[in-house]
């Protein structure tokens, strides 16, 4: 079978997807798959959106009742349809799926920005734990970035304590 994109090479990569609920197979060659990032770890909707220009409903192996946010009842298939989460707790529920998406979008998976005052203690605790694990795994660059941010955060707390 010829590749669905270049129509020339032998199709050796097979992708399953569904458009408007209908199951379809997409067979492409390795060159086209690489060129269009089809062998990357991107979630399927991103790929099908790119290929078909429609918001396609992905083939979700889990039966209903699995991978559902217990807070807002969003299903994984809802997330894959819209690429929007239902509530803040969805970040825990769909952690694996979101992480894949973040890897393709963001330079890092650690927040280094502003921290709300009431979250500062939790942030410091988190950074301290990360600092230990990054140092243990010899990720020194990441460990240094966390150490610097930790220092700055402690400094911010001291300053606001002085003001109040």
């Amino acid at each position: 079978m010829n590749c669905a994109i270049c129509k020339k090479n032998e199709a050796t990569v097979s992708l399953k997807h569904s458009v408007d609920g209908e199951q379809k197979d997409l067979n492409v060659c390795v060159a086209c798959a690489d060129k269009h990032g089809l062998r990357s770890q991107l979630p399927l909707p991103v790929l099908t959106d790119f290929l078909f220009g429609v918001s396609a409903q992905a083939d979700v192996p889990e039966a209903d009742g699995q991978k559902v946010c217990t807070t807002c009842h969003m299903h994984l298939r809802d997330l894959q349809k819209s690429n929007l989460l239902g509530c803040p707790d969805c970040y825990d529920t769909f952690n694996d799926d979101v992480s894949l998406l973040l890897e393709s979008l963001q330079p890092s998976s650690q927040h280094f920005g502003k921290v709300p005052v009431r979250q500062r203690a939790a942030q410091i605790e988190h950074f301290e734990a990360r600092l230990k694990s990054e140092a243990a795994s010899e990720h020194f660059e990441q460990a240094a970035a966390i150490r610097d941010r930790l220092r700055a955060l402690r400094h911010e707390i001291q300053e606001s304590d002085v003001r109040t």
Binding site: C72, C87, Q119
Partner: protein
Amino acid sequence: MVRKPGSWLGMKKPTGIVISSRIRLARNIEGVAFPGWAGEQERVQLLTRLKGCFTSLASMPNTLVLEMAELAETDRDVLRERHLISQELAERGPGSALAISSDEQIAIMVNEEDHLRLQAIAPGMQLRDIWDKINAVDSEIEDLFGYAFSPQLGYLTACPSNVGTGLRASVMMHLAGLRLTNEVEPVINGLEKIGLTVRGLWGEGTEAYGNMFQVSNQQTLGHSEAQIIDAFIDLVTEVTEHEKNARARLAESQRVNLIDWVARAYGLLKNARIMSSQEKADLLSALRLGIEMGYVGGVDIADINQIMLMGKTGHLQKSTGRVLGPEERDTLRARLTRNKLQNAKLLE
């Protein structure tokens, strides 16, 4: 507010290649479903909780809260044309609102894609100043409501592409020189390669008319707000330098052609009786360049910014108080432009 003729774009503060700066922060309230997933009742309840807080913020005095469901379509058009609300918010019903400071420099969209989209806007290149402003508003709201936040991912947003700082910095740039030297496309491609988004303010991609481009950062996680803003400013400064160079080269090697382009636009803008919004945007680009390069006098950039705004459909309809057909709009747009340019003179 929507009846007021001016806005920050019409300020008598000169803007150059960077027409305006904007920073927006995406924020959500903990324990509440994001607006796209929440029911109408939840959205209305959240707006009720938030409304009281907006009018008591010290960093955002004289705030007006406008609920989308209560606004006429023309009023929503006016807000959209001033870039105070998005198309998405304009289309939303009960529970969605805009809280806006009296100078229109701080605008908070409620229940758009996120619970809160805090925006600060200013003419020219003022990204660091407006970051300070919006940061202060953000800190005040944060004291009153708990934000959805994770030590790992930062501020949690409906779309993972905004998670982390939730910060999007953007500038509106006038790149007429680069367009004339056919360099606008490589510059845009270069910016996109290093992770910025560039789109025509009107029109699509590099086919933007009026030579107006909106440039913004894409990445929101992994760097601090100051790092994101500093890196963004560096890149915008670089583009500004490219544009200045293009203008200088044009003035030196193609001076007559350049002045001819400006003078033709001047003639049409001062005399035409019918003018579409696209034609007006393109001609104003030439006139804007003419003013900045000293070929046109008697009118300043703030006037051009005002003409740009008042010729838009929503503003035209608001000024006449009725719905206008396309022909009526084109005639009125041409008349308002002629009147505003009465004192304009060609200096070359």
